[in-house]
């Protein structure tokens, strides 16, 4: 048996956008064991719920993550709305779908870019991010922000979208779609990319289930599970099927995410076409009293918001289970037995969001 050695990976590493530390136990070039440690960006946002009233906490919830800020706000508001029995207006729920799907497109494009960056394909990275910029511009026009959208509020949304912006959304998507198709053909067909992704980090169906993987990680291993099918916001009125793949390798995860970009574009078009007229927020009074589990599908997978109110304006407890947290055991599994050179790309295939994980 060859000698074992430990290579520290992170918290500062060129491939990691955020800090996570992994101690990789190596035998020659093979990873035989992985010891993760997290906690570098813990901010205590769950504890903060005792100091900020439940209305103010919406702003904190949005800041759990800089990529899915829209959906974090949405998850929190959905939980409070369910506790307080607030029925949000139809227009607001469709606008939430549009915002959430835009977040998904921009997050998946971000991931594709980072993935290209992880295997050293810089020009592909730049070109992918160029496309993402158009989505961010649309988000800014719609919500007023590029990172923290601050658009969802308890009872509905803050800003309405007028007809000219709706037609602009359709136009931009029409223009963007062939460009994304072009860039995705590089990911799916180029030999350079396939060489780095195919057969790397296979997660079988059983492993994905037993390790509790979520989102594209789970769907790429052949499990049909998408929280949007629960029908929250306006998803019940839209026509879509979860995207699944059977291979379970890094390429399958890439394929799932690429197909989800097109699916999101389709969902936005459906939502724009079906957008009802009416108010964008429902008034409400009082404080939340009760508890609720709100589940929604973020770009990285299922997020769970648990909120417990006690009838005062300060909540008793707020807990978030973020998708990256759920995907860490699956990451450790796929890392065991891989080559050292594949570690960066494997870490990226779960689309890690460490700020989310540590809250």
């Amino acid at each position: 048996m060859s000698e074992r050695m430990i290579i520290p990976f992170g918290p500062q590493h060129p491939v990691l956008p955020e800090p996570i530390h992994l101690s990789l136990v190596l035998e020659n070039e093979k990873v035989v064991d992985v010891l993760p440690s997290i906690g570098f960006v813990h901010r205590g946002l769950e504890k903060l719920v005792e100091k900020k009233d439940f209305l103010e906490y919406t702003f904190v919830a949005e800041r759990i993550c800089g990529i899915c800020s829209y959906m974090h706000g949405m998850g929190y508001c959905q939980a409070i709305e369910n506790i307080m029995n607030i029925e949000i207006p139809g227009r607001a729920s469709f606008l939430r779908v549009i915002g959430a799907e835009f977040s998904r497109i921009h997050s998946h494009l971000l991931w594709l870019g980072l993935c290209a960056d992880a295997f050293g394909f810089e020009s592909l990275f730049m070109h992918t991010w160029k496309l993402r910029e158009q989505i961010l511009d649309l988000m800014e026009e719609m919500t007023g922000g590029r990172v923290i959208f601050s658009s969802v509020k308890i009872g509905g949304v803050k800003k309405d979208v007028d007809d000219s912006l709706l037609s602009k959304i359709n136009d931009v998507l029409l223009e963007l779609e062939p460009q994304v198709k072009e860039i995705s053909s590089v990911f799916l067909e180029s030999i350079t990319v396939r060489h780095r992704l195919e057969g790397v980090g296979v997660l079988t169906q059983d492993e994905a289930v037993s390790l509790g993987a979520v989102g594209p990680m789970l769907r790429a291993s052949g499990i049909n599970q998408d929280m949007r099918k629960l029908g929250y916001a306006a998803y019940a009125e839209l026509d879509f099927e979860p995207i699944i793949d059977t291979e379970g390798d890094s390429m399958a995860r890439c394929r799932v995410r690429i197909k989800e970009i097109f699916q999101s574009m389709d969902l936005i078009r459906q939502a724009v076409a079906k957008l009802p007229q009416g108010p964008i927020a429902a008034p409400f009074k009082g404080n939340p009293d009760g508890e609720y589990f709100s589940r929604l599908e973020q770009p990285r997978g299922e997020v769970i918001y648990y909120v417990k109110g006690n009838g005062t304006k300060f909540l008793d407890r707020m807990r978030v289970r973020t998708p990256t947290f759920a995907n860490l055991p699956a990451l450790i599994k796929v890392l065991k037995g891989c080559d050292l050179a594949d570690v960066p790309i494997l870490i990226l295939t779960i689309d890690p969001c460490i700020s989310c994980t540590e809250r």
Partner: protein, 115 residues
């Protein structure tokens, strides 16, 4: 490699995707959440905005007729704008100017204000 070469060639012969800052400045959208301004003449110093601000970035001194905002604390959430009963607060669509030190902007109501 042929796929990416096509894309690269295309962008080589099209105009740059990045703006030539600072020659060409970026235009903000009407919705962009920027700096908070106060039309101090109509402010009644009720302090509701201070209570609503999630970051405690505002301060009102009623006796001195002064309203101040800590620009580095403000997260442009708009809670104060919605809450203000006199509607004297507005959110600009441009960001506050960058500065080298933490800055509190003070607005003092002139004595001869007409109510």
């Amino acid at each position: 490699m042929s796929h990416i070469s096509k894309i690269i060639l295309k962008s080589l012969f099209s105009k740059p995707s990045t703006a030539m800052y600072p020659i060409k400045k970026r235009e903000y959208y009407p919705n962009t959440r920027g700096a908070i301004e106060n039309d101090i003449k109509s402010c009644i110093f009720c302090g509701i905005c201070v209570k609503k601000c999630p970051t405690k970035g505002l301060e009102v001194l009623r006796d001195q007729k002064q309203w101040s905002i800590d620009r580095c604390r403000c997260i442009s959430c708009g809670a104060c704008v919605t809450a203000c009963p006199k509607k004297c607060l507005t959110m600009e669509n441009t960001y506050s100017a960058p500065s080298t030190e933490k800055k509190v902007d003070r607005y003092i109501q002139p004595e001869d204000k007409v109510q």
